[in-house]
């Protein structure tokens, strides 16, 4: 396997080549992330005007999501190990409108950097009190809120001594099929950012910084938990307010 220095050099070369192009989304073709090699489409995406079904998103309701699913610290008999924290923010579309009453899903490693997944072989302890999966619906204002513990960084086998910065996976629906987003939320100041080919696959520094939550002392609560705020902005909705399906 290559060493980190070789991967970092590839990252730097691509970022320099992309400088000023302002690509807001990750490059699909991004060789430093080795698994992209055989999996990225080689042809440019074909432009489509969204048709009726693509201008709407699936509906989820209270029959889909239990109230307790937003609290990842109460899913077992005991309390999980780690830094308890609240993560909250708003989901809005590209026009600033809230995405109300829509599904948000998260999943993450535990405080030691271990996923409850059979393919995760990292020799860090599982936590019997932490699954690491949460769901909620946004409120009328587009706000979501989860209680969890801060995930740890973990190693992966992209290259020698490869480590992912700590992150929470987010799955978000908008009001249109075209807005569907799965992404990762990171924590401020992580020293692994510069080394991570997944984070760096977004070659515009301002765009990738959109994935970093802000510590928010107003979300932190006394004698209980720290707090982070992270807002999610989707693209425009393609809908007019009066449109009916």
């Amino acid at each position: 396997m290559e060493k980190q220095a070789a991967i970092s050099a590839e990252i730097a070369t691509i970022e320099a080549a992309d400088a000023g192009t302002g690509t807001a989304q990750p490059r699909l073709d991004y060789p430093p992330y080795r698994s992209t090699l055989l999996r990225h489409p080689t042809k440019d995406p074909h432009h489509a005007d969204p048709e009726t079904i693509e201008r709407w998103a699936p509906c989820f309701g209270h029959q889909d999501v239990g109230e307790l699913e937003a609290d990842l610290t109460v899913q077992h008999a005991g309390v999980p190990i780690g830094e308890r924290m609240v993560v909250t923010g708003r989901v809005t579309d590209g026009d600033g409108r809230p995405v109300a009453h829509q599904l948000v899903e998260i999943w993450q490693a535990n405080a030691s950097g271990r996923y409850l997944h059979k393919r995760d072989q990292h020799p860090a302890p599982l936590d019997p009190n932490f699954t690491g999966v949460g769901r909620c619906l946004t409120d009328a204002d587009g706000t979501y809120r989860f209680v969890t513990v801060k995930p740890g960084p973990y190693p992966w086998r992209n290259h020698l001594n490869a480590w992912r910065p700590a992150h929470i996976h987010f799955s978000v629906f908008g009001t249109a099929f075209t807005q569907r987003l799965i992404t990762q939320m990171y924590f401020p100041g992580d020293p692994l950012f510069a080394l991570d080919p997944i984070y760096q696959s977004i070659t515009d520094p301002r765009a990738r910084e959109r994935l970093v939550a802000a510590y928010d002392h107003d979300v932190t609560s006394p004698e209980w938990s720290t707090g982070y705020r992270w807002d999610i902005v989707l693209t425009g909705s393609h809908q007019t307010p009066l449109e009916q399906p």
């Binding site: 989304q25 999996r39 489409p41 074909h46 005007d49 969204p50 999943w107 997944h117 990762q184 989707l234």
Partner: protein
């Protein structure tokens, strides 16, 4: 500024798939069809860690506004489902064929594809093969060369339709970008 996407990664199986997620209708129920296929990489090898989401109109061409996809009651058609590929790269949905959302339009399934190694989600369409006139008149399909157009049209089999997703290569599936978003 729009929030960028990131890969779904390798560890989504305990989080995103859920019981009966791929069963928009119970398999074998009246009118049910199977929409299935393989996801393959640039070597033609199966992609065993992909996730597909299906979004579609009902058989009358209506956009469904009913919740209940995550906890199916067995009676409500929600128009949405989720299926992970298996070790052979195979996915399968049990559903109903969508109708045209406007008279004369070619009906299709809207599909989203996620996988480890895909840095962002991909969107595509799986058109129903049954109405040649509507397919010929479709604005998206008619803008594609014939060999690329074929990648978007499902083919019938004994229980429904087959739609393979080829991420790379000679018969690479046509993936879509929409205004403001790849």
């Amino acid at each position: 500024m729009t929030t960028p996407g990131q890969t779904v990664g390798p560890f989504f199986h305990y989080a995103l798939p859920y019981p009966r997620g791929a069963e928009l209708v119970p398999p074998g129920s009246p009118g049910a069809i199977r929409l299935h296929g393989h996801v393959v990489d640039g070597n033609g090898d199966p992609v065993p860690d992909a996730l597909l989401e299906l979004w579609q109109a009902d058989p009358d061409g209506r956009v469904v506004r009913a919740g209940g996809s995550l906890r199916r009651d067995g009676w409500t058609f929600t128009g949405w489902g989720r299926a992970a590929t298996d070790a052979a790269g195979h996915y399968s949905f049990a559903t109903l064929p969508p109708g045209p959302t406007e008279p004369g339009r070619a009906p299709f399934f809207a599909l989203t594809v996620f996988a480890r190694g895909l840095t962002d989600r991909l969107c595509t369409r799986a058109y129903l093969p049954g109405d040649p006139a509507a397919l010929a008149a479709d604005p998206l399909l008619s803008g594609l060369p014939a060999e690329r157009r074929a990648t978007l049209i499902a083919t019938p089999d004994d229980r429904g339709l087959v739609f393979d997703v080829r991420l790379q290569g000679a018969r690479e599936t046509v993936f879509l970008s929409f205004p403001g978003r790849r």
